[in-house]
């Protein structure tokens, strides 16, 4: 489809006797979901541009078990966690970055007591770090005059108090950042959490993503920025429900940044 991405697996690193700077945990959505795959690709383009020496687990990666845990299947979660921990510890992984706040939360908070201790960062935090360290330069004003509103993912914001990193990264583009009435700690869920992504909603008079998209549309945005593959899907569907898909686009922070660089 497009130019070749440089992606190496941990197995390749091992064969070369090297350790990567970071492990990119792609996650199930980032690996299989058509929309989320684009986010993975955009993030890798940025990593390539910044010459980050990163690895992925490739076919060895398996679900973190997060969604099973939220659904109540602690058994399946811990099976997944222990398998992944065995793999990660075997590779002596120190630092993990992921585009999925759900993987981020569970790897960071719930893996340690099962024996998996890593420095886990969300991709918005990592992008900010790359920019701050001067490794990733953001240029171009493709977003001049555009209004962007950022939707806080529950498992990044409220759950782990990461509010500033995505906003600071977005601030590097030339776009105008506008906040929804409910944002940061009081941001409304997109409706996908707690395994809702994989089931029909319970009976009600409205879908949560439609309500949340309404919040976003009230800011008159050109772009709704997300930082979670599930939020992205929910907000995209919400835009369709409001019949605004012609005037408003939903993009991940990594995609916004990659586009700004014409990557």
């Amino acid at each position: 489809m497009s130019e070749q991405l440089k992606v190496k697996t941990m197995q390749q690193f091992m064969a070369e006797g090297k350790q990567p700077e970071i492990l990119f945990w792609v996650g199930s959505a980032g690996s299989y979901d058509d929309r989320a795959k684009k986010i993975s690709r955009a993030f890798v383009k940025l990593l390539n541009k910044a010459h980050v020496d990163f690895a992925v687990l490739g076919t060895e990666e398996s679900s973190t078990g997060d969604v099973a845990k939220r659904a109540g299947n602690e058994f399946l979660f811990q099976m997944q966690a222990m398998m992944n921990i065995e793999l990660l510890n075997g590779y002596e992984i120190k630092r993990i970055v992921t585009c999925d706040p759900h993987s981020f939360n569970t790897l960071k908070n719930e893996y340690p007591s099962l024996g998996g201790n890593y420095d886990v960062v969300h991709h918005t935090q990592y992008l900010k770090e790359l920019i701050d360290d001067g490794r990733l330069a953001i240029s171009g004003d493709g977003y001049k005059g555009k209004r962007i509103t950022f939707h806080d993912p529950c498992y990044l914001g409220r759950a782990n108090s990461v509010f500033d990193a995505p906003r600071e990264v977005l601030g590097k583009t030339s776009a105008e950042l506008v906040e929804m009435k409910r944002h940061r700690k009081t941001a409304l869920c997109c409706g996908a959490g707690g395994a809702q992504m994989f089931k029909e909603p319970e009976k009600g008079d409205m879908d949560i993503n439609v309500l949340r998209t309404k919040d976003a549309l009230e800011t008159n945005p050109n772009i709704i920025a997300t930082a979670c593959p599930y939020c992205n899907t929910m907000m995209t569907d919400g835009i369709k429900a409001h019949e605004k898909e012609d005037s408003v686009t939903v993009l991940d922070v990594a995609e916004l940044l990659a586009n700004a660089q014409n990557l």
Partner: protein, 441 residues
């Protein structure tokens, strides 16, 4: 006969406090029905949380109108208690305004109590209007019908009457001081009650004394009655907010506990040296631990303390995305149901010499429906909204665990999702060997 009032007072005090102590014992017994949970960590952070959230009311003022009004009632409640101390001592010793030798300090104190009392009356009236005239959404949700509604108003009426009695007592006292009645020492300042003195114009000294004494007695007996009303009311939060914020969650909100009983089993399954045909160890022959919660005894004691602490303000429910979109789930109802069921279990124990006899009912199904549990997005909005660190989400998750691990009663789509993870390591039915295909698409 001279000491009769003192004796009556002492008896009232002992009965009032004794009955309250009995309720506290019952409360503590019920809370201890919960499973043990280690909350001995991070002591300094816990004290800080209590100071900030309970004492400092930081989460109340997130909503400024209700918050500031609440702070007034709360400060009034605490400060006016200094006056209650004097009243109790007067009652026991047969003195009148025992602290009056404090002079200007005393005048200042009484003056401040009066101003606070007036502010409390204003706040209580505003609260009543919000509940009954404006009918703010969160006060009229389905779970607020019946007793919860009556309870909410009852508390306001009691507070209103207590403050009115306090001011009446002061007004007549002031008038008695002015006409130089015996025993009524010249003490105190009455910035508020002086304005109601004209109501008692023309009353004889004996009538004034009668009104003053009646107000005095009703005020203190009312306080003792209110103290005993707490256990039957949502108003317990005035006491339990403190321990509850101390024991509240201090980990990141997104972090759920890992069930240790599951860890043991999973480790055994993954241990290549484990003998799959080994006879169970003596210890394991006991009833296997239940996964998740179907009744209150399966929850931990902090979750049960949470239930008693809830004052049904409904901030959780008003922030809940499921509730806002018309789903059945209301985090407040989860807490109210947990408390109601716990009370029911407690009553069964009372009737059976302290033993619980199964009554064929449980929290899951009889109080909380599957539909409510499956509507939750685990977004933590309810946890964030609670002004006293209650965690309704942890109860929801505990009950989902029971549904999934003990009953295999997850919605079909979720069962599909979970078998996909089991089979190919992703919630969708894709081949694990295709995990890296995105690179070349």
């Amino acid at each position: 006969m001279e000491y009769l009032p003192n004796i009556i007072f002492a008896v009232a005090l002992i009965v009032g406090i004794g009955f309250f102590a009995r309720n506290v014992k019952k409360l503590s017994r019920n809370i201890k029905l919960g499973k043990d949970v280690d909350v001995s960590d991070n002591k300094s952070q816990r004290w800080k949380n209590m100071a900030k959230i309970a004492l400092g009311q930081t989460k109340m003022v997130v909503r400024p109108i209700a918050g500031i009004m609440h702070v007034i009632v709360y400060v009034g409640f605490i400060i006016i208690n200094i006056e209650v101390l004097e009243i109790i001592l007067d009652g026991l010793l047969g003195t009148h305004r025992l602290f009056s030798p404090l002079g200007p300090v005393y005048n200042f104190l009484i003056g401040s109590f009066e101003i606070l009392a007036l502010l409390v009356i204003v706040a209580v009236v505003v609260f009543w209007i919000r509940r009954n005239i404006i009918r703010i959404q969160r006060f009229i949700k389905p779970e607020m019908k019946g007793w919860p509604k009556t309870d909410g108003n009852m508390i306001l009426y009691i507070e209103f009457v207590l403050m009115l009695l306090f001011l009446t007592m002061n007004a007549t006292d002031f008038q008695l001081q002015r006409i130089g009645a015996e025993h009524y020492v010249q003490a105190g300042s009455f910035p508020v009650s002086q304005f109601i003195v004209p109501l008692f114009d023309g009353l004889s000294e004996s009538s004034l004394i009668f009104v003053e004494r009646t107000a005095w007695w009703l005020h203190i007996l009312g306080i003792l009655a209110f103290l005993n009303y707490l256990y039957y009311s949502k108003h317990l939060h005035i006491l339990l907010a403190f321990p509850n914020t101390y024991y509240g969650k201090i980990k990141p909100q997104g972090q759920f506990n890992n069930l240790e009983s599951v860890t043991k089993e999973v480790k055994l399954m993954m241990d290549p040296d484990a003998d799959p045909y080994a006879a169970p160890v003596e210890d394991d022959a006991a009833e296997p631990e239940k996964f998740g919660a179907s009744d209150v005894m399966d929850l931990n004691w902090v979750q049960l303390l949470n239930a008693y602490t809830c004052t049904e303000c409904g901030r959780c429910t008003s922030e809940c995305p499921a509730n806002q979109t018309g789903k059945k789930l209301s985090p407040r109802k989860i807490m109210m149901d947990t408390r109601d069921r716990l009370e029911e279990v407690g009553k069964i124990m009372d009737a059976n010499k302290g033993e619980f006899v199964p009554d064929g009912k449980q929290l899951l199904g009889d109080y909380i429906s599957h539909e409510e549990l499956w509507a939750c997005t685990t977004c933590n909005a309810c946890v964030e909204a609670c002004p006293v660190s209650i965690d309704p989400l942890s109860i929801i998750v505990e009950m989902r665990r029971y549904l999934v691990m003990e009953q295999s009663a997850a919605p079909t789509e979720l069962n599909n999702m979970m078998s996909n993870i089991e089979n190919n390591g992703a919630p969708w039915p894709y081949n694990q060997m295709d995990r890296l295909n995105w690179v070349n698409e």
